[in-house]
């Protein structure tokens, strides 16, 4: 929420506006469109008039049931529709979950680096964030010992984000199991943001912590349709957890924005219940783009935590001899590439940049060519 963060992002975006051949690798908005069968379902809801009348603030019963079935089937999480509230996007879901469980002075252990909206939600709820560092050399996995060392009598909850934005790190199943054990031992709640769960690379595996023994009663899982199904503009997601907490989530949902858009809820239903092969097809495209990006970073000698999930890499710009912020400016000015510096997320991540490969493969290739040319020209000039 710092002015500095907003200022650098705003400056770069403003400078980028007039550039004709700009390649923007900054946003977390998939370039590929929402699947045809999902759009078709939305159109049917529009034509039938089903999208017009506002419904239950907690969401359509059919969608809550479908989400519960998905949690049971794919994640091994015991859930029925009463355990699910439909939110207006994953970010609102997180806001609702945090506000449902936190009171003033409560501490939340949160992996660092992380997307700044977590900080905003936690501080608005009166909570205090305790950073748990994650490291590039660990591919930004979360170390259970580092978590446990930071537990105090005021610790209320543990935030897990796997795969993570911006680091693209995942928490290994072995670590998830140890974190569950720690949560049980210290009687902590867990907020698990799993919005990138289906976008995994190499041998990465996703394990939902709520599926582990004794964890469904203390875990709130936040997820949505935006990233998996390329539905950012529809604003629909969900929160799942113990019934008592979900009653409070539903109450807050009614006060914060009432029901999620009905047209989007019907679209989400089609995404969950329709064919899933295009999710795999999309992931295969992301995997090719990722290879292009990582090969290029390797040639440049840039460090990074191997991205195991999501659609971005958190790269270390130290090898360029510049701060990430300066490199962002240089790349924008000379190569017409928009890549946000980590300091745009939090000031202490001044060496890192988040590059999202959400453009066609040819564009990604072109972007990495420009990056390499720009940096080798710089190296030549300085000798």
């Amino acid at each position: 929420m710092s002015g500095g963060r907003d200022a650098v992002v705003a400056e770069l975006r403003e400078r980028a506006e007039g550039i004709d051949d700009l390649i923007a690798l900054d946003l977390g908005d998939p370039d590929l469109p929402t699947a045809d069968h999902v759009v078709a379902a939305a159109k049917r809801a529009i034509d039938s008039g089903a999208a017009d009348l506002a419904g239950d603030p907690a969401g359509l019963d059919v969608l809550r049931s479908a989400v519960a079935a998905k949690l049971r089937r794919e994640n091994g999480v015991p859930a029925c529709s009463e355990n699910v509230v439909i939110s207006t996007g994953g970010q609102e879901g997180l806001f609702l979950a945090i506000h449902a469980i936190l009171g003033p002075g409560d501490e939340v252990l949160a992996p660092d680096p992380r997307y700044p909206s977590y900080d905003a939600a936690i501080s608005m709820a009166g909570g205090t964030i305790v950073d748990v560092p994650t490291r590039e050399q660990d591919a930004f996995d979360l170390d259970p010992d580092a978590v446990e060392r930071r537990i105090t009598s005021r610790t209320r909850a543990l935030l897990l984000v796997s795969p993570s934005n911006p680091t693209a790190g995942t928490i290994s199943p072995a670590h998830v199991r140890r974190l569950a054990e720690i949560a049980r031992r210290h009687d902590l709640l867990v907020v698990s943001d799993e919005i990138y769960e289906k976008l995994l690379y190499d041998e990465a595996e996703h394990l939902s912590i709520a599926s582990l023994p004794g964890m469904a009663d203390r875990t709130i899982t936040v997820n949505g349709f935006s990233k998996t199904y390329r539905m950012t503009g529809w604003r629909v997601g969900w929160v799942a957890g113990p019934v008592a907490i979900m009653r409070e989530v539903a109450r807050l949902k009614r006060l914060v924005s009432d029901s999620a858009p009905l047209v989007s809820q019907y679209a989400g239903l089609a995404a969950l219940e329709g064919p899933q092969d295009d999710v795999a097809g999309c992931l295969a495209q992301y995997a090719r783009r990722r290879r292009i990006v990582l090969d290029s970073l390797d040639r440049l000698g840039f460090g990074y935590g191997t991205p195991r999930g999501g659609f971005h890499v958190f790269l270390n710009a130290t090898a360029s001899g510049m701060s990430a912020e300066d490199l962002s400016r240089k790349l924008l000015a000379e190569a017409h590439l928009l890549i946000l510096p980590g300091a745009g997320l939090r000031p202490q991540w001044s060496e890192h940049m988040r590059l999202a490969w959400l453009a066609p493969e040819a564009t990604i290739t072109e972007a990495m060519d420009r990056l390499e040319r720009c940096l080798s020209a710089g190296a030549g000039a300085t000798g």
């Binding site: 929420m1 946003l27 939305a42 914060v256 009905l262």
Partner: protein, 362 residues
């Protein structure tokens, strides 16, 4: 009242069941075909904000910059949350002219503030003096639904008096005008944001529910930048942007908004007149407001609303306790049926209210 009872006449809905016009649906679908499945600018589609700013100037007399002073939201509830959460803090008091919606009071409490509800005037109307009497040093904002939750609209003098109270005591005005389109022909809606001196301290909230887009969750708020900046930041942290497809539907509705709402208004005029006339003939003590989707029926002293609601249901009419709109001692009748059925409902309700009183002969 047995064999002749037709199916239940339902006057208990919280909202009118209004459907979107065909052209609006086509606009939304065409946008989907063009790939409007991505995030939009956080503040909303530029074309929609421009249309909103034009309408605010032309219809409401409120001048705002479309780029800086209009924020597209996920409907009135989100607008209200953004305003209350951003502009009111723990310990502040928010004055709410009665009758007050329970959900509004719940929202104020949820941000740690205290709601002070002003007693309504005669016939559930607005009483500016009751508002003034609640001003304390902690008073921070005035939450004004206009039309009110029971369809009352302040006249020009009352609105100016309220405006003066806000200016003198430094109150921020959060004006919810989403029932603007449900104002009866012959009555006039006025925006408090257009009253002299109120522009810099007013947040004006409206939506597209009256054109059948309630379920699409799209609305807007307008305010000058001192008030707008924190709301804009919170909007981004909360929901990033409003649903793209819904914004395109709203943009599609803007071109003919006054025509669509005129159709709704005409239909409601007929229903309101039919119900009012039939209630009068049935000897029922009702307040027929100048706006909104309801007619309010006054209960005699000592008559329990819950009991009347149950007996009316047994007689084939579903109605709601007035508490749903902050009016204990009243019944709420929603104008969500056609005139003939509304008249039939009034007849049945007249029999229920004129029939055996609670505790009387059964």
């Amino acid at each position: 009242l047995t064999a002749g009872v037709s199916p239940l006449i339902d006057l208990s809905l919280d909202r009118l069941a209004l459907h979107s016009p065909a052209e609006v649906r086509e606009a939304a679908k065409a946008a989907l075909d063009r790939g409007a499945t991505h995030y939009t600018e956080s503040a909303g589609l530029r074309c929609l904000r421009e249309a909103i700013a034009l309408r605010l100037a032309a219809v409401n007399g409120i001048a705002v910059s479309p780029t800086e002073e209009v924020l597209v939201t996920c409907g009135t509830q989100e607008s209200l949350f953004l305003a209350v959460r951003s502009l009111v803090g723990p310990g502040d008091s928010v004055i709410v002219p009665g009758p007050a919606l329970p959900a509004d009071l719940e929202l104020i409490a949820a941000v740690g503030a205290r709601a002070s509800v002003a007693e309504p005037g005669e016939g559930l109307g607005l009483d500016p003096e009751a508002v003034r009497a609640l001003v304390t040093p902690r008073a921070r904002a005035l939450l004004l639904r206009c039309p009110s939750p029971v369809g009352a609209i302040p006249d020009e003098r009352e609105l100016e008096r309220l405006g003066a109270i806000a200016v003198i005591h430094g109150l921020t005005v959060i004006a919810v005008e989403s029932d603007e389109a449900l104002v009866a022909s012959g009555a006039t809606h006025r925006s408090i944001g257009a009253v002299g001196g109120l522009g810099p301290r007013t947040v004006t909230i409206n939506d597209f529910a009256a054109v059948g887009l309630d379920g699409w969750r799209v609305g807007y708020l307008a305010a000058q930048s001192r008030l707008m900046d924190p709301m804009r930041r919170l909007k981004h942290e909360l929901s990033i942007c409003s649903p793209a497809v819904s914004q395109h539907a709203a943009a599609g509705a803007m071109a003919r908004l006054e025509a669509y709402t005129a159709a709704t208004r005409d239909r409601l005029d007929l229903r309101r007149a039919a119900l009012a006339g039939a209630l009068a003939r049935a000897g029922v003590d009702a307040v027929v407001p100048e706006a909104g989707p309801y007619v309010m029926v006054r209960l005699a002293d000592g008559v329990a609303a819950a009991e009347v609601v149950a007996r009316a249901r047994a007689a084939g009419v579903a109605i709601a306790d007035g508490r749903r709109v902050g009016s204990p001692g009243w019944l709420r009748l929603t104008l969500d049926e056609e005139p003939d059925r509304l008249a039939a409902a009034a007849g049945r309700l007249g029999e229920v209210l004129g029939g055996p009183q609670p505790g009387g002969v059964r």
